[in-house]
């Protein structure tokens, strides 16, 4: 049996193993050095690999990402941390205008093998700016690869894959999953980027989720089973590239789909998924694809958070609305 570790520890292990495997891998950001990051994800890296390999920078996100671009141009594989989702926004120009576009601008002559790690999304009772779901901005920007693990094993494997990837990766770490322990086999094969995984097979309907929304989707499927419906769950893992094949195969087999995501639903990744599935699976669908997402409001203060987050009940309600009365 593989050892149990938290997602924070799994990411720490992935960073360590990548740093040990390749001297070009360097980690930097705010408080990632002696403190080990505000979530302790980089705990001990400076101590064990030295200040040259894991270091604190001046407090400036555009600076961190901009410098990573230059370092990636010059033979390194930077893995940078944005302290919280909303604190990546000062780096938005660097990310959208340079990280995303440099390879294309240079006809592939300058690729940027860098990773931007972002503790991401809500469910932790955080104050404003500490709980944003920002994946749509990145997914909408051609040139960025966007990953969001939902399990500790994927957090390890996908981060290893991301660091080895030739192109820049935005790596979204669901904060609310940081501390629960699960088995992680670090010797397991590194999962391919761009492949979703069926977490739970189901015959009646398919829930499509990623990152922090996978656990509530699984819990809803569990509850649905009690109520007599066999609901499956697909965990995207990779938002970009998008795995049409796995997602559509599942939806075609059930004919019903609900997309679950924490971000506000308007112009969201969930909308993209619903559109793609509808275009590709229309003749297999028994009902329109539903979305269960956050409301189209700024992320609420802690006391109102529970009303915002897509929970089991809302997911089950959406499943109930999939026009079962029309079924043969």
């Amino acid at each position: 049996m593989a050892p149990k570790m938290s997602m924070a520890a799994a990411i720490n292990a992935a960073l360590r193993d990548a740093m040990a495997a390749d001297d070009a891998v360097v980690v930097f950001g705010e408080d990632v050095g002696p403190l080990g990051g505000v979530f302790r994800v980089t705990d001990g890296l400076t101590r064990d690999f030295g200040e040259g390999r894991c270091f604190d920078t001046p407090l400036a996100e555009a600076g961190i990402v901009g410098m990573a671009v230059g370092m990636a141009m010059n033979g390194m594989r930077p893995v940078v941390e944005m302290q919280f989702d909303a604190f990546a926004f000062p780096a938005f120009e660097q990310i959208t205008s340079h990280v995303a576009k440099t390879a294309n601008r240079t006809r592939g002559r300058v690729r940027l093998p860098l990773v931007i790690r972002i503790p991401y999304a809500g469910g932790i009772g955080g104050v404003e700016h500490h709980c944003d779901s920002s994946e749509a901005y990145y997914a909408h920007t051609p040139g960025l690869t966007v990953l969001a693990p939902a399990t500790n094993a994927d957090a390890y494997g996908l981060l290893r894959a991301a660091i080895e990837y030739p192109d820049p990766v935005v790596f979204l770490e669901p904060k609310k999953l940081y501390f629960a322990k699960e088995e992680v086999d670090v010797a397991a094969e590194v999962p391919p980027i761009g492949r979703a995984v069926v977490r739970r097979a189901g015959r009646d309907a398919t829930l499509i989720a990623y990152g922090p929304s996978v656990p509530p989707a699984l819990a809803a499927a569990e509850q649905a089973a009690v109520e007599g419906r066999d609901v499956g769950v697909v965990d995207l893992r990779s938002i970009v590239p998008f795995d049409d094949e796995t997602v559509c195969a599942e939806v075609r087999s059930t004919g019903r789909a609900v997309v679950v995501a924490e971000a506000p639903g308007f112009a969201s990744v969930a909308s993209e998924i619903a559109a793609r599935v509808t275009e590709r699976c229309f003749h297999h669908l028994e009902a329109p694809v539903h979305r269960v997402t956050g409301f189209d409001v700024p992320y609420p203060a802690p006391k109102l958070e529970r009303h915002f987050l897509p929970g089991v009940d809302r997911i089950l309600d959406a499943v109930d609305e999939l026009q079962w009365q029309d079924a043969a």
């Binding site: 705010e30 408080d31 407090l59 555009a62 604190f87 409301f295 609420p300 006391k303 009303h307 009940d313």
Partner: protein, 346 residues
């Protein structure tokens, strides 16, 4: 710049304020300290989710509010609860943010105090905007813009200083250099001779002041305010101070600084030196001290009472303020949440 030494002895570099003025300042220092301690206690009791304490920085907190007129504006950060309270905002209203009720618990217009900024240095540009608008409108408003040492590394800090200087905006940039940005020491932010020295590059005056010396901070800030008010543009003031507590209760400061360092700064406490001076000058005796303590205890009790009552939060509010007129989508989302909650109740 220093007016009172650590030992409470006047340095003589400029005259001290009149004793009754200083005594009033001391009263405010004690209240600010008590507020910091009370808020920390409320975190321990689970009444507040988090509190970024300004213990050790009270002279800065008190002074930056004291030098402003009612018509001026204050742009504080998450660290500056005590300054906001010193400005006259109800402490219970300020702290409800940290209790998790809403993002800003007070009406910014009531005391001309902007919401506490969390994204670092971003508010400095807003401060410049308020100041520039005041000039265009012919008002003599001054804007006090607060940030920490770490925030000076952000691009927005540079842009704000430059804009303010170019437009001669009536802004005082007040950097509380408390030596750390969470765990990252000042040396990792800047190798400039001082943060105040950066002012040169923008073409504005920069002043370095002992941030634990109430009369000195007050004097320097008052001069900067006067300068801004008279149309001579912005000033960058750096206060040399220290964050005595961890970054927040969620932080473990033993990971990055020594107990000795903290103790050393404890000996430069901003309250002690004013008390020593006032006592020596015969302005403060035991009765006076008791009176001041009692007043701060009253305030603390009021904060405790205010936060003991759980104010109900209204889920409808999620949708109420996003736009002046809610979009049709928000209206329907509000309806569906209401229906959901009615189901829950029944």
């Amino acid at each position: 710049m220093r007016l009172l030494g650590h030992d409470g002895e006047p340095t003589g570099s400029a005259p001290l304020p009149a004793p009754d003025v200083l005594l009033d300042g001391y009263r405010r220092l004690v209240a600010a300290r008590r507020l910091n301690e009370q808020a920390q206690a409320l975190v321990r009791q689970g009444r507040l989710a988090v509190y970024p304490s300004s213990r050790g920085q009270e002279a800065c907190q008190v002074a930056c509010a004291a030098v402003l007129e009612e018509r001026d504006w204050l742009f504080p950060t998450y660290r500056d609860t005590a300054a906001i309270v010193a400005r006259g905002v109800d402490p219970v209203e300020v702290l409800t943010m940290l209790r998790g009720d809403w993002h800003c618990g007070y009406d910014p217009r009531e005391r001309r105090t902007a919401p506490q900024a969390t994204p670092l240095a971003t508010q400095l540009l807003h401060a410049v905007g308020v100041g520039h608008a005041a000039r265009l409108r012919g008002e003599d408003t001054v804007v006090m813009a607060l940030c920490g040492d770490g925030a000076t590394s952000e691009g927005d800090f540079h842009e704000a200083c430059n804009f303010a200087a170019v437009f001669a905006a009536p802004v005082v940039f007040f950097v509380q250099n408390n030596k750390y940005a969470i765990s990252v020491p000042l040396a990792r932010q800047s190798v400039a001779p001082s943060l105040a020295a950066k002012a040169d590059g923008y073409g504005m005056p920069g002043v370095l002041v002992d941030g634990n010396d109430l009369p000195a901070v007050t004097r320097v800030l008052a001069e900067a305010v006067a300068r801004a008010r008279s149309g001579d543009g912005p000033t960058l003031v750096e206060a040399d101070t220290y964050r005595m507590d961890a970054h927040t209760n969620a932080d473990d400061a033993t990971r990055y600084r020594t107990e000795d360092e903290v103790t050393g700064w404890g000996e430069r406490d901003p309250l002690t030196r004013v008390r020593t001076y006032l006592t020596g000058a015969g302005v403060l005796d035991e009765t006076g001290e008791r009176e001041i303590t009692a007043a701060s205890e009253d305030m603390a009790a009021q904060v405790r009472r205010g936060l003991a009552v759980e104010a109900p939060v209204d889920p409808d509010e999620l949708f109420a303020h996003v736009y002046a007129t809610p979009t049709p989508q928000l209206t329907s989302q509000r309806a569906s949440l209401r229906a959901e909650l009615e189901d829950e109740d029944s």
